[in-house]
C-alpha cells in the first residue's frame, strides 16, 4: 500500500486518540494564549453593568449535564456579575435534568457573595413544557410557579413582593442549550417585549444572530469563548473558561489539519486513479 492509501483507510480510532491527546496535553500544561474581547460580549456586559443596584434580573438557566461543561462557566460568570452589581436574581431552569445542577451553581455563587435566599435571590426551579411556562409567566410568575423550588409560596419571599411578571424585571438573560431559546424568543420576547439576552451553546449560536439584528435579542454570548471573555470583564479569580481556550486552540488546529490531510489524500488518490484509467 502506498502512503496515501494508508491515510485513506486510516482507522478512525487513530483520529480519536489524537483528539484525546490534543485535549489532554494543554489541560495539563496551559499555554496562556491571549484572549481578545469581542464587541458582542462587551455589549452584553455593558447592558448588565448599567443596571441599578436592587433591580431584578431573570436568569433562565437551561442546560443539563450533557452541555454543562460549556455553559456552566458562563452561567457562573453572569451570576457573579449580577451579585457584584447588587442586582437581585430570579432564576429558573426549564430543563428537567438540569434543575439540580443549576440549584447547586446558584447556591455556590450566592455563598461566595454572602447573599440571602428569598431576599437577594430566588430559584423557581422547573416546570415542564417550556413554551407554556414562558407564556404564562408573562401574566404572572405565580401561574406556572405558585411555589419556588423549595416549596415556599412566592408571596412569602420578600424579594417577590410586587414582582408580578416580566414587567417587573429589568432584563431577562437566558443561558440556554435547549430548544427553549426559540420559546424565549417566540413566546416570551415575542409576546411580552422584554429585553432578552442569550448565552447559548456555540453550536446553536449561529441561528440566533439574526435576532440581534432584528432587535429581538439585545446580545448573544456564545459558548466557552464568550464565557472566557466575560470572565475577563468581571475579573474572575479562577477563569475556568479562560483556561479552556488553550485546549480549544489546539483542538481546532488539529481538526483543520484533519480536513487538510483528508483533502490531500483525496486529491492524490483521485489523480492516481485518473492516471491509471488513462
Amino acid at each position: 500500500m502506498r502512503w496515501y492509501e494508508h491515510l485513506l483507510n486510516l482507522d478512525r480510532r487513530v483520529l480519536y486518540a489524537l483528539i484525546f491527546i490534543a485535549v489532554l496535553i494543554p489541560s495539563l500544561l496551559p499555554i496562556g494564549l491571549p484572549i481578545n474581547i469581542s464587541p458582542e460580549v462587551e455589549n452584553v456586559f455593558g447592558r448588565i453593568d448599567a443596571l441599578e443596584a436592587g433591580e431584578i434580573v431573570l436568569f433562565p438557566l437551561e442546560y443539563d449535564p450533557s452541555t454543562a461543561a460549556e455553559l456552566e462557566p458562563m452561567a457562573m460568570a453572569m451570576l457573579r456579575h449580577a451579585f457584584q452589581k447588587d442586582l437581585r436574581v430570579l432564576a429558573c431552569c426549564l430543563s428537567p435534568t438540569g434543575v439540580t445542577l443549576v440549584e447547586d451553581e446558584i447556591a455556590r455563587v450566592a455563598a461566595e457573595y454572602d447573599r440571602e435566599y428569598g431576599v437577594d435571590y430566588v430559584y423557581l426551579g422547573y416546570q415542564p413544557y417550556p413554551a407554556i411556562v414562558i407564556m404564562t409567566m408573562g401574566e404572572n410568575f405565580r401561574t406556572p410557579f405558585p411555589l419556588d423550588y423549595y416549596g415556599t409560596a412566592l408571596d412569602d419571599l420578600p424579594m417577590m413582593h410586587g414582582v408580578r411578571n416580566y414587567d417587573d424585571v429589568a432584563l431577562v438573560f437566558t443561558v440556554n442549550a435547549t430548544s427553549g431559546i426559540d420559546f424565549w424568543i417566540i413566546y416570551g420576547q415575542g409576546r411580552y417585549k422584554f429585553p432578552l439576552g442569550l448565552g447559548s451553546a456555540a453550536v446553536m449560536a449561529t441561528n440566533y444572530y439574526q435576532y440581534v439584528q432584528s432587535g429581538q435579542l439585545f446580545g448573544i454570548i456564545s459558548g466557552l469563548r464568550g464565557a472566557a471573555e466575560y470572565e475577563i470583564l468581571i475579573d474572575t479569580e479562577d477563569p475556568v473558561a479562560g483556561r479552556g481556550m488553550d485546549v480549544q486552540s489546539i483542538a481546532h488546529a488539529l481538526i483543520v489539519l484533519f480536513i487538510v490531510m483528508g483533502n490531500i489524500t483525496y486529491f492524490v488518490d483521485r489523480r492516481r486513479r485518473q492516471q491509471q484509467e488513462a
Binding site: 486510516l10 478512525r12 483520529l15 480519536y16 489524537l18 483528539i19 484525546f20 485535549v23 494564549l33 491571549p34 484572549i35 481578545n36 469581542s38 443539563d64 449535564p65 450533557s66 452541555t67 454543562a68 461543561a69 435534568t97 439540580t100 445542577l101 440549584e103 447547586d104 447556591a107 416546570q127 415542564p128 413544557y129 407554556i132 411556562v133 407564556m135 404564562t136 401574566e139 401561574t143 423549595y150 456555540a202 449561529t206 441561528n207 444572530y209 439574526q210 439584528q213 469563548r225 481556550m245 488553550d246 480549544q248 486552540s249 489546539i250 483542538a251 481546532h252 488546529a253 488539529l254 481538526i255 483543520v256 484533519f258 480536513i259 490531510m261 483528508g262 483533502n263 483525496y266 486529491f267
Partner: protein, 214 residues
Amino acid sequence: MKRELPRMITLVTGVFLALQYYVPHRSSAHMYETLMDWLIVVGIFAILLGIAGLVRQHLTKIQSRRENWPYSVALLTGLFGMVILGFWGQGLGSPFVTAYFTLLNPVQATMFAMLAFYIASAAYRAFRARTLLATILLLSAVLVMLGRVPLGELVWPPFSLGSLEIPGIAQISDWLINVPNLAAKRAIYVGLGLGGSATALKVVLGIEAPHLRG
C-alpha cells in the same frame, strides 16, 4: 364518534388559540392560562405513559430471560431506586441529588463529549472538496473554526498590504456569521414558518390527522 369527537376537540381548541393571540382581554387571557395549565397536566400523564411502556418492555424482557436481560435489571433498578430516593428528600446533599451527580451526570455528559471525536472523524473523512458546494461549505467551516480561537487570531491578525487593509481571521469569521450565515438562516426560517403554520392549520382543520390514522 371515534373520529369525529377528537376532530371536534382539535378544531375548537385550535381555532380558539389561534384567535386568542389577538385578544388581550383578561377573560381571554384567563381561559388561555387554564387551557395551558391543563396541557401541562395532560403532558405529565403522557410522560408517565412513556415510562410505563418502558417498564413493561423491560419487565417482559426479564421474565422471558431474553438476550441481554441483565441490562434490563440495571435499568429498572436505576428507575425505581431513583424514585424511592426522590420521595425521601431532594435537597442539596440528599441521596437523590448525590445519585444524580454520580450516575446520571457522568453518562450524559460523556455521551455528548463523544461528539468531539465524531466531528474530528467527519472532518477527516467527509469534508472533501468534491464539488463547488462542498468546497464553499468546507472553506467557510475552516475560516470560522480558526477565527473563533486565540491561536487563529495570533497567526492571522489584521494587517495592511500597502494601502490595503486586510481583515484578521476573527473579523472574517464574524463577517461570515453575521452576513451570509444570517441571510441563510433568515431564508430558511421564512420557509419553515410558512410551512409550519400551513401544516398546523391543516392539523387544526383535520385535513392532516396523524393521530387518527393509526
